[in-house]
Symmetry: C2
Subunit: 514 residues, 2 copies
Amino acid sequence: MDGAESLVRTLVAGGVDVCFANPGTSELNFVSALDKVDGMRCVLCLFEGVAAGAADGYARMANKPASTLLHLGPGLANGLANLHNAKRAQSPVVNIVGDHASYHRVYDAPLTADIEALARPVSSWVRTVTDARSVAVDGAAAIAAAHAAPGQVATLILPADTAWNEGSGVASVPRVPPRPAVASAIVEATARILRSGEPTVLLLGGVSLRTEGLALAGRIAAKSGAQLLAQTFNARVERGAGRVPVERVPYFVDQALAVFKEVRHVILVGARAPVAFFGYPGKPSALTPPGCDIQTLAAPHEDLTGALAALAEAIGAPRAAAWPVDEPPRVPTGGAITSDALAATLGSLLPEGAIICDESLTTGQSFFPMTYAAAPHDWLQLTGGAIGDGMPLATGAAVACPERKVISLEADGSGMYTLQSLWTQAREGLNVITLIWANHAYAILRHELANVGAKNPGPKALEMVSLGNPELDWVSLAKGMGVEGRRVETVDELVRAFRAGIAVRGPFLIEVVL
Amino acid sequence: MDGAESLVRTLVAGGVDVCFANPGTSELNFVSALDKVDGMRCVLCLFEGVAAGAADGYARMANKPASTLLHLGPGLANGLANLHNAKRAQSPVVNIVGDHASYHRVYDAPLTADIEALARPVSSWVRTVTDARSVAVDGAAAIAAAHAAPGQVATLILPADTAWNEGSGVASVPRVPPRPAVASAIVEATARILRSGEPTVLLLGGVSLRTEGLALAGRIAAKSGAQLLAQTFNARVERGAGRVPVERVPYFVDQALAVFKEVRHVILVGARAPVAFFGYPGKPSALTPPGCDIQTLAAPHEDLTGALAALAEAIGAPRAAAWPVDEPPRVPTGGAITSDALAATLGSLLPEGAIICDESLTTGQSFFPMTYAAAPHDWLQLTGGAIGDGMPLATGAAVACPERKVISLEADGSGMYTLQSLWTQAREGLNVITLIWANHAYAILRHELANVGAKNPGPKALEMVSLGNPELDWVSLAKGMGVEGRRVETVDELVRAFRAGIAVRGPFLIEVVL
């Protein structure tokens, strides 16, 4: 078997059985191996940003890596923004990049680029295969690196000759060490803070936002009075009826500063110390006030759930904590579409097990509170701020969970970065409802102009944050990629369309005129 | 004035008066300065790959740089593939990338990335501004670096605080040294090769493919019998009636090897030694046979036209050389659309001064010969092999040359990488006809499967090179972005649509069903 086949066999044997691919000539031996090996699902994407973002979404829902297949330096380059998001989400990804045959690189043919240099800023592990006989071992090492806690992007660069020359069979994946436990001294120090009764935030990140971690955090809060908060942007939150509700640190800096104003202690559970998304003139970067103490209970790669369990035990938290159970909102009726009407539509109609991929920055702020009592669901966010992750995330999540309904919340501005996702959704028959907020603007930038000191922006500046000329027609864009779409202008139309989207098996797009 | 305004003023004063932008929060001070400074045209792009490719196309036609405006590491990442193409085209580009405020970087907010590391592989010059008072000087240095022969990508990283803090006025651009002349000993050595009468190729690249260089090369060929060839992929060739016709080195390796089989000398004029685009099992990387001598008359950054003039003088080339003038092809009529019918349509109907942006790899091979006698025009190609350059190139070329008709030759596969270009074409009313060859496949990869040793590809492999499920509907995609489109299935429909596109002022798309 050639090196490419030994890699595909190693991937499948190592549990990596989905590949999001945009191949070129250098990757054709890998592509060719797909027919020789059972068990690898290869999903074609028409742009590498879709492939990278889909691998991220897949990993968040499958709790294991998919692989990508990208074409040399430029193909990797097109995937970097969403690999940046995957890195910030701590998603395991086996990022496979083809390269020229090793002997061909010195000729500096047009596609030659420094792939390792491009890969390093987004990867925790980078290796270039040097011999076809080591492809399998290198592939297995990449799988292990991707799985290393809390989850990493592992980039494996595969020169074409190491793919077509004779390989050496299948390699097994080295043992991945479990998440290290948190020392009892740290747990005890954290317990002392909670016992002090001083205003304290328990800031949750990573897997502490899954059902088990949230339940533990809820018990700790019930006993101690600490406030639970999630980071502003999270890879995945398990939410809805029966889960402990948790609000996020607000995105806008003034609101975020207000949240922490009286706080004396922040306890980090797989979270980072809270900082502003951007620097702004005259505003601090750290969101916590001077004198506020920051205590790390558990770093992102440590055993977050174990640490929370130990902390709950240490403070004598009750076995079960009751949370006020709101009724879900009613299905909205009549009138124009507002942000609240959107939130109520989601909160009332969300099917059980829905997966929400949320890239709606300005429109989506009210969605979180209105969906606490919705049917149980997962909420995935843009983690690295690299716009254009939402539709690829939805694509990957739908591949990971074919029986669940994926709801992709997009704005027209962010949706345009990776709209090619819709074609893959159509091709694979993926169960995704895409909601596009057609506000015809980079709305968040309109808001931000004043924050960076650009008062009274003139017409040329305003034109740079406007998408109104011409207005995008998302129903036509979707049609062009084989996806059924509908444009809605009233709440009743929205509700009807959302219900239709739930009933459809396969992708569906709703352009929501705001 | 703030640092951003001092930069915009420096750019305009330095002749950089077009900016292809996809701004975010960190770039809003730059955006805001647009209303305070006359003379900067800022063109909004909905994806950074469009902005980067448009800057490339603009530079090729305007012979000077545009600037970009990109949002931090991920925004740069999305532009890298087309910056790679710009680098390979030797296009001058002032690539401006916003960054976090300098004091904010240590907080490692979600968008933080190593921008310099990402920029270096595609840039000949990289500088991060460290003080608002040096923004103008740094900007002027970036302009000079971009202009340095033969043309470079110069990346200027602008932390937000250096944009909003007080700047220091306008800086003037340092003098850019002219292209160095070629030593007379080199010219004489090259003349001796030509006098030998042995089979010789004069391989042309860069500005030697403009009218003046081609005329000189034609005279040299007339006297010496040397064969003229252009590189396979060229930034810009001036062609058509009255220009010396020149064939390119074929893309496919077997054809290219055949071209050089009997050649004893290759003389490089701003060109690189000819190499295969990819390595293939059992095939050489160098296209020239063993024993073939490669002589550099002029390196890309040297005075190519001067070197050709000196060489023509040295061998006593005639003052003027007559080239056989073919008739342009007739307007084709009737029947199904073939590659030859497409070529004849272009060759017969091309308006004078047309700019062809050619990203059609498989379909476009016969276009070159059929357009030698067409009305004078420019031909721009994908130079770095990073797919997704054609439509952005066309966008930038149309901004540079508003009175000329731009013809964008695309395939459905490559067009999908940066289809957002159409929106900018609509917004700016750009004079672009986009022809999409709808072959519903990565056709070149079908061809290449056998070349890399992947014989008898199975159904899964073939599916990875097929775009047929679902078929893309480009008329709907264009409509979604405000561009009129038409689908044609016969030669007569094609000719009618092409004539309609020429008559339209503004963008127009023709989906050509093959």
